[in-house]
């Protein structure tokens, strides 16, 4: 097992270096730069432009900037935003709990609904339930997030008035946020109604963010279940007279969950990407919205280090999934 873990960890180093190159190169490939955007319609003389670029250190050769970036990273310095002047890491840590809270709720929705739906669809293969849910999953998977989010806001918040439009909490409540997780902080505040407000603000963005992972998980569970159900050991289990519940719950589902767990792990990356749009629509102060703002301002240090931190999280989650996979599937561990 230790060899397996070390093997997986050794992949992280080249991946990390690769991501720094991609993240660093990505923002610089984009046309335009922060100084031009700062000047706006007013324009800027070529001399002043050069002076500003030099002040920000962007006039140096690109390889030198990259090595400098890497050197600072190795010393734990993720750089400062050239717009807000704040350290990127502290902004990330401030905003990340909001994204994590949203992503957690979304993945819970996706798993709690997606897995049973997939199982049922497999068991009732070809039925109207199977067809309706799998078509819905296909629609969900293809849903343009921005349109979907706005549609839900107009319907549930605008027309019906059931949910708040955007934000994390009613602005009438005001309390310290030591953890950054609004559900926890609202409970800790002891203010009446605060938790309900935080929870109601989570409903629509969680649904929107969960849409694609839910569709993927439901379809993956269904196909994994179908595959497992046709296996000999399931037939044997049935033949020896086990109850259908036990056949499905113990023999089939446990084996079908192996690929599903990998899928769930991979959805973390999808959630991070989805957060960019979901957070923008719902004014959710997380890292997705932060990245969008920073890209549009060409805030190089924030984009390159922000991407790196997000990629780091996705990598760690995938590593954990890999390890879990090894844990539940001895064939992988021993191969």
């Amino acid at each position: 097992m230790i060899k397996f873990i070390l093997g997986r960890l050794s992949y992280l180093i080249p991946t990390f270096i690769g991501i720094t190159i991609v993240a660093f190169g990505f923002v610089r490939i984009l046309p335009g730069d922060p100084v031009l955007l700062m000047a706006g319609e007013r324009g800027m003389s070529p001399e002043h432009y050069q002076e500003m670029m030099a002040r920000l250190g962007f006039d140096r050769p690109i390889w030198q900037q990259y090595l400098d970036y890497l050197w600072k990273l190795l010393h734990g310095d993720f750089g400062n935003s050239i717009v807000t002047k704040q350290p990127v890491l502290s902004d990330f840590l401030t905003l990340f709990p909001a994204t994590l809270e949203l992503a957690f709720c979304a993945i819970v929705i996706a798993v709690v609904i997606g897995v049973p739906v997939g199982v049922l669809a497999a068991l009732k293969r070809g039925s109207w339930f199977d067809q309706v849910t799998m078509t819905s999953a296909l629609v969900g998977y293809s849903m343009p997030i921005f349109w979907w989010g706005l549609l839900l806001i107009i319907l549930f918040s605008g027309n019906l008035g059931w949910t708040p439009v955007s934000g994390r909490m009613s602005l009438l409540y005001y309390f310290p946020t030591p953890t950054g997780f609004m559900l926890i902080d609202s409970l800790m505040s002891g203010q009446k109604g605060a938790f309900a407000s935080a929870a109601s603000h989570l409903i629509l963005p969680s649904i929107v963010l969960a849409t694609i992972p839910l569709a993927v998980i439901a379809r993956q569970t269904r196909s994994a279940m179908l595959e497992v159900l046709s296996e000999d050991y399931v037939r044997t289990a049935r033949a020896k007279g086990l109850t259908p519940r036990r056949v499905v719950g113990v023999h089939a589902l446990r084996n079908a969950m192996i690929p599903v767990i990998t899928t769930i792990g991979l959805q973390v990356g999808v959630l991070m990407a989805g957060a960019i749009l979901t957070e923008t629509i719902f004014s959710w102060p997380g890292i997705g919205k932060w990245m969008v703002d920073s890209i549009s301002r060409r805030d190089y240090p924030v984009v390159q280090s922000g991407l790196l931190l997000i990629a780091g999280i996705v990598m760690v989650v995938n590593l954990v999934v890999d390890l879990l996979y090894g844990l539940i599937n001895p064939r992988i561990r021993h191969s």
């Binding site: 046309p31 335009g32 031009l36 319609e41 840590l93 806001i153």
Partner: protein
């Protein structure tokens, strides 16, 4: 850091609760996050709304709803005969805000005023680089770095600015957000504690609202400043709910989650107007959109050709199609709400037949040109691509083939200033300080015509530039008006631009809100606003 923020928030909350249970809270759905809370290094209106218009005040202010200059922290001022010395008498007893993080020990004095400008213009000022890499774009671009010769503290409440040359717009410059007066005592305290960067996160000013807390990208909270030297704000608490998407802002306003919102999407305006719980204020924007020919390029170096093209384009059709009627056709480079607007100027009438003939008379046939359409929405231009398409169709009618080109916004801004730019560029301007100099000098003078400058037509007319220079030196407003009116006649005659439009600015709000005054300069201030219970 986090714990500190939390503790601050908690103590602020206690302060707010202590304000009483009937506290009036005004919620403003702002369009974006402020870049920081020190107005001097930034150029974005979003930042100015959140910092300059709430926390700070300036020596002079623009009277609400106008661009006329009224006393601010300076209760009076005198200008020397030669226009070189401006002496400001400060109000006595103006208090800097007391916050959880700073308690002032003295009132505002001349040191604060000098410090506020010196830190921007003097690289040797220890506070100039209180955060590494910081720059003061407005101070430089408004020319204060070359304009101010010296600043002198005459006494505690008197400051004298000496200029290198007379400059009439100087006073208006001092009313701009970047010229907000900051506390030297606070800056010194932070420097001594090695926490200079906090100056940009925890502001202390003399304005109508006291900063309470900022939850990044989500909420900014303020409370009314009990020591404000002006009329006390009507609301107890002011909250900025940061909501970047215009459609979502509109939904929040309709749902009662906020009371006021800026920048509605043009498509939402009718629905907002139809809502009985909302009112939509509107005002002619202090802006202009234009199509700038490259006057260095043949055949656009010939004013007849430019005029012919101007006559071929149906501007009213653009206003109807692109602005849905929420704007007016522009004939001058400055908007009609600005003083010195020359209404006697006659616009080039839309007349394709005459345009065609004029082009032929100029010896131009089979003309191919590029029209640059910017890739972003701006207050003066909601859809440049559509505008360019309409122009393209109009030009085709007189036999001119136009191709539409575009670039990423930063690239567009840069490439459009290049001297050998191929084609005419759609762009525009929103006024900074209500002075005609801020339009005509910035956008059309010879000084601005070089590469990187804002004069995208590269049009350099000595007579026009001389009039502007004279107007900047004159202190008599009647004299200045006369000079700017003459300049507009030359502009129209020479036609370096097709002047497209002056757009209308909308401000939807709850019917509970009273006292809101739209600011022609586009900033949003809430010190005069009240809200019904």
């Amino acid at each position: 850091m986090k714990l500190k923020t939390s503790l601050l928030a908690a103590s602020a909350m206690m302060a707010m609760l202590a304000g009483g249970v009937n506290a009036k809270t005004l919620i403003y759905c702002s369009e974006g996050s402020p870049e920081g809370f020190d107005p001097a290094p930034y150029t974005a209106g979003t930042t100015f709304d959140a910092a300059a218009r709430t926390v700070y005040s300036r020596l002079v202010e623009f009277a609400p709803g106008t661009t006329s200059i009224v006393p601010g922290l300076a209760e009076s001022w005198t200008i020397s005969e030669d226009g070189l010395e401006y002496t400001f008498k400060l109000r006595a007893g103006v208090k800097f805000q007391t916050t959880d993080y700073f308690t002032p020990t003295r009132d505002l004095n001349a040191d604060d005023v000098i410090f506020s400008f010196d830190r921007q213009g003097n690289a040797d000022n220890p506070f100039n680089q209180y955060v590494a890499g910081i720059s003061y774009e407005y101070y430089t671009s408004m020319g204060l770095d070359t304009m101010i010769k010296s600043m002198e503290k005459v006494d505690d409440l008197t400051v004298k600015f000496t200029l290198n040359a007379p400059n009439a717009p100087f006073l208006a410059d001092l009313g701009m957000d970047f010229a907000s007066i900051v506390s030297k005592e606070y800056a010194d305290t932070l420097m001594a504690a090695g926490k200079g960067a906090d100056f940009n996160n925890q502001p202390v000013g003399t304005g109508p609202f006291v900063f309470v807390a900022y939850q990044k990208d989500a909420v900014i909270r303020y409370k009314a400043n009990p020591d404000y030297f002006g009329t006390k704000p009507m609301v107890d608490d002011l909250v900025f709910a940061i909501t970047t998407d215009a459609a979502v802002r509109a939904q929040k306003l309709k749902a009662g989650e906020c009371h006021v919102m800026p920048y509605p999407a043009p498509a939402d305006i009718e629905a907002l107007k139809a809502d009985p719980n909302l009112t939509v204020m509107e005002q002619a924007g202090l802006n202009v959109a234009y199509l700038a020919y490259n006057t260095l390029q043949k055949p656009f170096d010939d004013p007849h050709v430019r005029k012919a093209l101007n006559m071929a384009i149906d501007k009213q059709a653009i206003i109807d199609a692109v602005f849905q009627g929420t704007g007016i056709v522009a004939k001058n480079p400055i908007p009609p709400t600005m003083w010195s607007y020359n209404d006697a100027v006659k616009d080039d009438a839309y007349d394709p037949d005459a345009a065609k003939k004029m082009l032929a008379d100029a010896g131009v046939s089979d003309l191919h040109m590029n029209i640059w359409a910017m890739p972003v929405q701006r207050p003066y231009m909601p859809n440049a691509r559509r505008t360019a398409e309409l122009m393209q169709a109009d030009l085709a009618r007189i036999g001119v083939t136009a191709e539409i080109v575009s670039y990423e916004w930063g690239e567009y801004l840069k490439k459009s200033t290049e001297l050998d730019r191929d084609g005419a560029v759609i762009l525009g301007w929103t006024g900074d300080n209500g002075d005609p100099d801020n339009f005509m000098n910035v956008l059309l003078s010879c000084q601005a015509a070089g590469e990187g400058g804002a004069n995208r037509s590269h049009w350099c007319n000595e007579e026009f530039s001389d009039l502007l220079a004279k107007a900047a030196l004159a202190s008599d407003i009647d004299e200045r008006t006369r000079l700017y009116e003459q300049a507009q006649v030359i502009f129209k005659d020479q036609a370096p631009w097709l002047t497209i439009d002056h757009s209308t600015v909308f401000m939807p709000m709850s019917t509970k809100v009273t006292g809101y005054v739209m600011n022609p300069l586009g900033t949003h201030a809430f010190d005069t606003v009240d809200i019904a219970e």
